[in-house]
Symmetry: C4
């Protein structure tokens, strides 16, 4: 089983170009948050802005805007996102993500289908995860289910998944043609071409609400600053876990909050950058 190692991370992290401007790293669009789960939008937004993106726009209900701005004034918003869905200027965006803080419902599915109809990389999590087939498209689709969600979207048996998570993820990726990040202790990332990696970072401080929303934001941001989209995913999963590993050096694993992963990222990421 291939592991994504510290050396892999050091070798593949992008150098931020000295003559870059915010356009160089593109604009991410994250569709997240709802009335009773607004915080997931906040968590994914913070994580994305910490992960190399140039600009971030949120597609969300207007009631969610205040929460994001309070935590992250750097964000802007798509006016009338749900009404304008068929009319969004997708050539303006670099990466699309959907799902954190969303119910699995028709409105969410409409967002997903609209995103999938573009040529852009699409990250789907939480409420955007559903059993469906995927058309061939120019850019990757990345799903980030935890085991419960994976069973739901794959219709695989619980036993099958538990017995060999890697095989199950690989089978799913091959069948559907999309990338699956099967989360948990030792997260499996299975690409549709058969490549599969196991993550080696992270610990049980991550077993708390919101850490998945943070991961979605990190993957989205890293897709914007990496040339190779596979490296972006693998590095996001790795650094997400490395932040948690940094936390428990001086603090109890019972006490971490998901937002703190993003606060730790700047210093943790630095450690993997070549001098």
């Amino acid at each position: 089983m291939k592991k994504w190692s510290k050396e892999n991370v050091v070798d593949t992290l992008p150098v931020r170009k000295s003559d870059a401007h915010k356009g160089t790293y593109g604009t991410a669009l994250i569709a997240a948050g709802s009335r009773f789960m607004p915080g997931a939008a906040v968590l994914s937004a913070i994580a994305c802005m910490r992960s190399g993106v140039g600009k971030l726009e949120m597609g969300t209900e207007e009631s969610v805007i205040p929460y994001v701005i309070q935590h992250l004034p750097e964000t802007t918003f798509v006016p009338g996102f749900y009404e304008r869905l068929n009319d969004l200027p997708f050539n303006h965006y670099t990466v699309l993500a959907a799902g954190p803080g969303r119910e699995e419902n028709d409105e969410t599915e409409k967002v997903v289908q609209t995103f999938l109809s573009t040529d852009l990389p699409v990250v789907l999590d939480a409420g955007a995860l559903r059993e469906r087939t995927y058309q061939k498209r120019k850019s990757p689709v990345i799903l980030t289910p935890h085991p419960g969600e994976f069973i739901r979207i794959s219709s695989f048996d619980k036993e099958k998944v538990e017995q060999d998570r890697q095989a199950a993820a690989a089978e799913f990726a091959a069948q559907t043609g999309v990338t699956v990040v099967l989360k948990g202790k030792e997260t499996i990332t299975a690409f549709p071409d058969g490549e599969t990696y196991m993550n080696t970072t992270g610990n049980s401080s991550l077993s708390k609400g919101g850490t998945g929303d943070t991961l979605t934001g990190m993957i989205t941001g890293m897709l914007c600053c990496h040339d190779d989209w596979k490296h972006a995913i693998l590095n996001a999963v790795y650094l997400h876990g490395a932040c948690a590993d940094h936390w428990i050096k001086t603090r109890s694993p019972h006490t971490m909050l998901a937002s703190e992963l993003s606060e730790l990222l700047p210093e943790v990421w630095k450690k993997y950058e070549q001098k």
Copy 2:
């Protein structure tokens, strides 16, 4: 008089399981906050999320939601909590708590009675404290009064309580069949089976509004990550005081805010974890 000592804490703190996911530590439901006392919901929520819980849902008036999310985007909310009270999916929860930032009124009492009618552990504080009898039930009920509240709910004489707090608390626990955490300098925890402990941490920096709300959140969270519910309570009371003791090493006791107890908890807790 038995004291809950540093050694007891070290011996009984749970190890966070390396293969845990957020479901492993369950979901707490805290009913707290109201229009003119919204902050108590915030304080108990922060404390709970710092104390080992898997997920946190708040049952509160919609006007309180923004305050919680601003401080803690990791939280989610029960839609229409007060209307759906008879209809809540209690098998979805692990621990229930009620009272911080609530007036002692009919609406609060309805929440309390609904919570008591379940099989789950129930923590009652502040506005949820009232003189009442308790039915035998599967899981513990924990009351966390300060002396003024204790006198109100016990109808004991002020003198009786002041003369021997431990005896009074023990008598109350035996009579009612519930656990009482009689707060103050050297908090007494009296269990209905007669066991009684005195806490040895804490100081007068805790004599400020909001510290009790923080304790309620800590007890609720710790009930989610401890196997033994008695240890959960005793450790929560102990660490709550230990955070205050940490504060005054470098800062004046006049200056602490209740929310800071939760900020100190990660490093303080770590000190009691076995290597």
Copy 3:
């Protein structure tokens, strides 16, 4: 000219009583904030909660509540403050303050007159400063004008005030029977009995909007935890300046924000506490 020195501070700072509860240090009521100046309520509230009070209630427009809670969930609010003004349970409070973030208008004056009609210490700042006479009362009235405000409320000539601030403040205090804290570099505190002190701390990092609101909160809080109300005022002015002096050791004086004074207070205060 008498100076309030470091030794005076060390000698007069209160020891927080080991068996205190939040009632021991009483409840402050601050009437502050308005629609276009809501932040002053926030600043005075934070400062007060950091300065030894037991509990804090804010009397403010409902639109101001969110701002305070976002910064300070430990605060509660008087429901319908302006409507219930004649009906407030003043025996419930320990110290009253009014003015930060208030226009000098009829509504503010009604608050001031109501506060003055009680037996409690009253602190008046900003919009609550007006030329008026004061009845003899049981507890002190403390005014905290900057020179511009002082000229307005005293009808003294600008020249007279500039030539000898101490004499002017002392004359005003003797005439009106109230205490005046004439702010600025080397703030003068003149008591109605003729005692007058010059403050020796502070620097030009304080020359920025909001620092006066912070001082009002500190005086209010310290009145709650000092036995001697004169010491409370003198120590609040001193420590307010000492926080600014601490700031400029490592940071430019051009860059300080008023809220940061309160963040620095816990460690600064500690330095003056006897071992």
Copy 4:
């Protein structure tokens, strides 16, 4: 090509006067923020308050007020800003700025024209940037375009600008009579009198949404505390970049948020102050 060097900064940074009061450093008025871009108002406000101003008033839609106060309670607001535009007491202000978080539309242009009709220094950024001619006036006008904005307001060819940014900026400043800060790696500041400087600080961590809004706030604040307005601009650009350079010493350049520049400013600025 002249560079604005560390020595220039050390020589020209103002000493904050020991007997200053907030009036000494004047009041800035920033017109910024809109419904879907409220955060830019926050970012420019924070940066301005950190940069030596005495007081800050924001001219903005009422929906933006909460966001600013949540981050910066030290700010106040112009009641009914857009309605009262022709009626504002401009003798009350020291420096005016407009544009961050604004669309380029009629309402924004009305603000710009009103500001330009005063005798005060005016900083224009983002939505306030438009191709226009400028009347001779008493105080400087400062435009802060990035290259894309510069091409739009100058109608210069993209090639011309890219080939020799300095010449293009100097030509524009000479033609229009206003100062242009042409942002990017090695920002060019061209004054209408022909003087032109290249900035030597900053790095690609600045290639992220919001960093320009922060620069606008810093320039605005520094105009309030510098005697020489040219030094104010050059020092703001320099320190803005120096904060970013400080960030990457210990943190990855991919991870910085625009608001953090302002958090780093106090310590970074201090390093350039003469003992």
